[in-house]
Amino acid sequence: MIPEQPKPLLEIRNVARVFGGLKALENVSFNVPRGAICGLIGPNGAGKTTLINMISGLGPLSEGAILLDGQLISGLAPHKIAERGVGRTFQNIRLFGDLSVLENVILGHHLRQRGTLIETLLRLPRSRSSERDSRTAALKLLAILGMEHLANVQARALSYGDQRRVEIARALALGPSLLLLDEPAAGMNSTETDGLCEFLLSLRESSLTILIIEHDMDMIMRMSDLVVVLNFGLKIAEGPPDFVRNEPHVIEAYLGSE
């Protein structure tokens, strides 16, 4: 069991999302403690991506509230939520394909870049040193992921697995306190998935909180401190992996009932 902490990093409170007549999410509540890895699972169409989009500000809430570090973030614009320290990746990889791998990661570092338009145009030292710092930080991140040799390759020329990892590097460049990963292992082979697992576990050491959607059950059960199960927009189970695995509702949702 995870030790109970006074204030969770992420609080989802009675969140609902209605598309026309369809209730994509209904009265979903759960907390993610600081430094935890939380797995968000459920069959297709359960509302997992909808929820992650709402946390990152890409979709409005029909009801409820989302709090980060005790502060309301639902209703803020996506870039404001990013400023508060929420980084994310996408289910269908959304890298900037025309730009190089390095440029993609530097863009993640954008909030810490300094230098006004005028300073940049006059090539003043502040904008140049800031650019240098971002470059160094981005290269360091790529090195941790073992991808520094790909720094100058156009992002769209990369293999699928590499694109996923660059997207994670880009989100990490933001320096987030909460990282949202939407099926990061999709399309990866088992070796790549193992590598990713190890990497994500190593991130937890640096007190990063991760909310991860994944269909690879082995990976979820191995990594997560906490698993939340959604089905048809409702939360049907929540708890440590071993508890959730044996929960009758969950087995029913995944395998169907007699």
Binding site: G57, A77, H79, L99, S127
Partner: protein
């Protein structure tokens, strides 16, 4: 060389002005915005300079500054108003702005008479437009003193765009063009940077319009109709929209082509149109296509060390 320049000075002037206009639409296209208000801002610049120089003795350079300042002052509120729109809707809204500018220029004197008791006062002169008095340009270092400001203006704009291209600003604008949702989740204030691109583009167009005034000399509303906006778009489309070199090539080719094809007489427009059509079909990324540059580089340089892929 000097003889070639002096014989073709009018074409060279227009090439330079069109390069500035092509660059003005490039900055918005590079941000993923299809804005067609450039002809309108060009009109604002041209009329500002024309009115200032016919109604007062204020020097041209001040008129140019005023034109650019007016472009910025108008682009800010208009940008805030229309930049929530996307794609074709933005194109239509900005086109509408261009039409409003043209209609105001056409009926400007009626507006003036609302505020002035002097019925004789004619500033805009309706469809006939404002005619600037001809002044024989003095030649400085082989170029007329009307060409120098345009040349310097183009150099300054190229410097600005090239510097931005290699800075965080260029990267951010490119990220908005490719995926503004992904950019916003990285903390990019998309509206803010779109407005920056729109205001910059509008200011460049207003300045180009101001500089064109002494060259065209007759500033009438017909100069700034829809087709002018399409011409400006064509410079960037033919040249390429991902690098600032694109609109320079596009504007140069499209402005000089009709002159170069003059020997074809009546068939000139057909061949002109055909060349544009073929280049768009076979060079969809424009004349500044990175592939062409790559090929060019390989032809002129020795193969470098193997690239790791």
């Amino acid at each position: 060389m000097l003889e070639f320049v002096s014989n073709n000075i009018s074409t060279i002037n227009f090439i330079l002005i069109n390069i500035a206009l092509g660059l003005s639409i490039y900055i918005t296209l590079a941000t993923g915005l299809l804005s067609l208000s450039n002809a309108g801002f060009m009109a604002i610049g041209a009329y500002t300079v024309a009115i200032i120089s016919t109604q007062s003795n204020i020097p041209f350079i001040v008129g140019l500054m005023a034109a650019i300042a007016l472009g910025v002052a108008l682009a800010l509120p208009i940008g805030m108003l229309v930049l929530g729109l996307r794609d074709i809707y933005l194109a239509i809204a900005t086109l509408g702005f261009g039409e409003i500018v043209r209609i105001i220029a056409l009926n400007g004197d009626k507006v003036v008479h609302l505020f002035s008791q002097n019925r004789e006062l004619i500033i805009f002169n309706g469809a006939e437009g404002i005619t600037l008095t001809y002044r024989t340009p003095t030649i400085i270092l082989g170029l007329p003193d009307t060409t120098w400001p345009i040349l310097i203006y183009v150099i300054v704009i190229v410097y600005i765009l090239a510097t931005l291209h290699n800075s965080r600003f260029g990267r951010i604008l490119a990220s908005i063009r490719q995926d503004e949702t992904a950019a916003s989740t990285l903390g990019v204030n998309v509206v803010h940077y779109k407005l920056l691109a729109f205001v910059l583009g509008s200011a460049i167009a207003a300045g180009a319009g101001a500089l064109s005034a002494p060259i065209v000399r007759v500033i009438d509303p017909h100069n700034y109709v829809f087709s002018r906006g399409v011409d400006i778009l064509a410079y960037a489309v033919l040249g390429g929209m991902t690098h600032w070199v694109g609109p320079i090539l596009g504007a140069t080719v499209l402005t000089s082509l009709p002159e170069a094809l003059r020997f074809l007489k009546d068939q000139r427009d057909i061949v002109n149109g055909l060349i544009i059509m073929l280049s768009i079909i076979y060079l969809p990324a424009g004349l500044a296509d990175p592939r062409i540059w790559g090929l060019f580089k390989r032809l002129v340089s020795f193969p470098k060390r193997e690239r790791v892929s």
